[in-house]
Amino acid sequence: MSTWPDLQTSVSKALMEPNMDPPDGVKRLKNGAVPVKRFNVYRNNVALSLINVLRQTFPVVAELVGKDFFDTMARHFSRTHLPESPMMFQYGDKFPGFIKDYEPAQTLPYLKDVAHVEWARNVALYAKDQTSVAIDQLAQFQQDQMPDVKFDLQASLQLINSDWPVITIWQAHQGQGEQINLSKLPDHGQSAVILRPHLEVNVHQVDPITAYFIAQLQQGQSFGQAVEASVSQQTTFDISANLAGLFSIGAVTAAHL
């Protein structure tokens, strides 16, 4: 008779191996047979509950590929990626990366980026609550101080840069019942800022240079450094429009020297 730690290890392994018999120590049926169907209730609970968590966190990915494809993909993922904690809202951070390498999804190269958008929204949903400030905060600084000003950005703020029109695809699946007309999809990549200034998560499609500019600020660069880097990327970079836009979406929680 194995001790509980050993038996628990055997049960854990059998839960993740669909074709393995329930381990010794699990009570046999009256006819001496192994209780496969009974043990499968637990296997199903584990698999289906994790598939459901992923479906709730990645609803557009699920819509794009259909139920059967999604369930199979999510089942493969959950078998090799058990959650690390009981906080199910944290489950799925590695799902976009898994989709990228998942062979049957290779015909949908944008799928991993749609998953990135959905994961970013999920992270924003549970991020720390912070109050945004308005652009008039900048009135406290002299003109010559502006290049040295640093902005604290919303903890929920995340940037998306995709080679695909991923925001158009994501927006087409927001319950409006619209079908994407594939022939009318933009033929270029898209960037987005995802953040939660209040209770709702917002997805703002932006120019790639704007995403680049915000990335500089997020990495702790001063306003002047971020502008300089952005202008060197794109000489037409519109400083005042980008600054106003940053505040209008509620991205800034503090401005300081």
Binding site: W4, Q8, M16, R38, V41, S49, P86, D129, A155
Partner: protein, 300 residues
Amino acid sequence: MSQKASCSTKPNISGPDQAYKSHLPKSASFGLKLEHCQDILTTNPDLDWFEVHPENYMGEGGPSHHYLTKIREKYQLSLHGVGLSIGGAQMPSSQHLLRLKQLLERYQPASFSEHLAWSSHEMGYFNDLLPLPLTQETCNTVCEHIDHVQSTLGWQMLLENPSTYVAFEGPQMDEIDFLNEIATRTGCGLLLDVNNVYVSCTNHERNPENYIKNFPHTHVGEIHLGGHAPDEDDLGNPLLIDAHDRQVIDEVWALYEQAIAIGGPKPTLVEWDNDVPDWPVLLKEAKLAQDIIKQQRAAA
């Protein structure tokens, strides 16, 4: 049903072999879902308390905390954990205990409960309530875990009887003796899930009425009700699955009446976690339980 959210007193660890004194109102309610919060806050249903899974409220911010804070201003709360893995061989995670402690301090609930089950292993978290053998070895392990949980949290907890689909080889303790020994040794209370009684007794060919009759009701701080899904095992015998996806069946209502006839009215919760209907359906189920509590009070 007029007692609203007063500041609850933390249930202190009462010491071994004491009757559990619940701080939850002895009335019926249903499990709170985030999608129902806005409606509940505007319609103010005549309930005293709600129950939530703390694991859903362990993020730093966002709507979950926003709405639970508003609910807590009007109602008492019960935190019903699913992730401590008290029945596992390993000590419950210290990080998870810390998160629980923070939630208990933040929301000042009237009750904290967990399951006689395990869900975590070195491999990861299984997101299910898994079964353990009922032996003196596991009984000692669970007692150590509950002692640790209660002393870390500074909080007396309730332990819930499980729904199980398999049993284990070798001599097993009776489930009631097992739970009674844990409650007696650790001073924890018990959460009597009447649906789990019906599910497990059916699955293991035991008599549910006898189970209710023999249960140590003085330790019971809360009762759960819920729906289950019927299936069959490998030999074609009934196998009930604790799905929480439908209404409570008559047989389970009868067991509930039996339980409160013996133990008196208890805080009672209807659980509905999958295929969740609009909340008035949940309210209706809770009202059925409330009617039974009223009848029992009138008869007593």
